[in-house]
Symmetry: C2
Subunit: 216 residues, 2 copies
């Protein structure tokens, strides 16, 4: 399965590339914005395409996706300002969904934020604009596309070593999860069609990722 | 017909209040954020409700709307920053739509921007975030509600005296339109059910507003 990763150079997605290198089923096409980012992927035998989610058109992105079987959306403005949040986390996500449909791809895995929904969107905090952007991107994916989506809502991302132990659910108390375990969960999601049309939170827990995803 | 106006103190909506005062069919409930804004409406015999589109809940807004037959959405962040654009023009609009549905109101008239859609959203200019916010609010209204919507896309708003002469259409070259004529068009839209499930641009033109709206 060829997986087109939007936001391939992000921290979660770099761990994803490491798992792809070891995986027998999944290959990756890494969408990157800066040619300097290519080495990391080439070292792992991963093809790169140079595209800018904001500046390139849906047609450009669809063309780059044409050999892929699935899309993982792991891009994010990450504190670059509210304008970038709107351009990347909201509109960029919707552009990627539209491109996937245009390219005839069915499978779309979204890395969302831990909690969306009205209560969270109403909180006057530093993450409010980000939460709203992610919420409406998720809403679009679920309600305005015919994609086989999965939405993963990770807890607080940390850079500690992955444990391969998670728990899934919805409405859980927030807790940490290593980025490496999020990446491994994405691999497992792609390998398990029982995750189609499902969304779930992931936190550090006591089930192996394989077990947790199989039992969703 | 009782019309609940979100963003009642805005420039277009203030002209709207003047027309309401003369209209035999339309009454207004003006949603305002600052008690100091109430005098303007009381002088015109218009009821006010004090609510904040960002801070108040959908339940609060729905409760205030409960005696209304229609909603006009004319709020806008108006250059107060990208965060306010997301909170008011996108999420605030969707909150107002949800509140209207919750209150059992069918009719919803949106004052949009001149041009939305992918081409306009992709333009890297000062209005890009605003255009994206308005676009997705319009999309929600059309595709995610069961409201009897009308979307009005005015050209460049100016404060010159209204002429009562407009032209309607889609994909027109942008031109000016007095705010007073936009307000009068909203009155005409509310009085004409043939505008339901339609969206159109309005610019200065050579048809009377009544004629232009009747012939949509």
């Amino acid at each position: 399965m060829k997986v087109f990763v939007v936001g391939a150079n992000g921290k979660v997605a770099q761990h994803f590339a490491d798992f792809v290198k070891e995986d027998e089923v999944i290959e990756e096409i890494a969408m990157i914005r800066d040619p300097k980012q290519a080495d990391f992927f080439e070292e792992r035998g991963i093809e790169t395409v140079l595209l800018d989610l904001v500046k390139n058109s849906i047609d450009d992105i669809a063309e780059a996706m044409k050999d892929a079987d699935a899309v993982v959306f792991s891009a994010g403005a990450g504190g670059a300002g509210d304008d970038q949040t709107v351009l990347i986390d909201l509109d960029g996500a919707i552009k990627a969904m539209t491109a996937a449909e245009q390219a005839g791809i069915k499978r779309f895995v979204m890395v969302s934020t831990f909690r969306t929904g009205r209560e969270e969107m109403s909180k006057d905090n530093d993450l409010q604009i980000y939460t709203i952007a992610k919420n409406y991107a998720d809403e679009w994916l679920k309600n305005r596309t015919a994609l086989d989506w999965t939405i993963v809502h990770p807890g607080i991302l940390v850079d500690t070593q992955g444990t391969d132990q998670i728990k899934t659910g919805m409405g859980q108390e927030i807790a940490e999860i290593p980025r490496q375990d999020v990446a491994k969960t994405l691999i497992s999601v792609l390998n398990n069609d029982n995750t189609i049309k499902k969304e779930f939170e992931i936190l550090g827990g006591d089930q192996t990722i394989e077990e947790a995803i199989n039992n969703l």
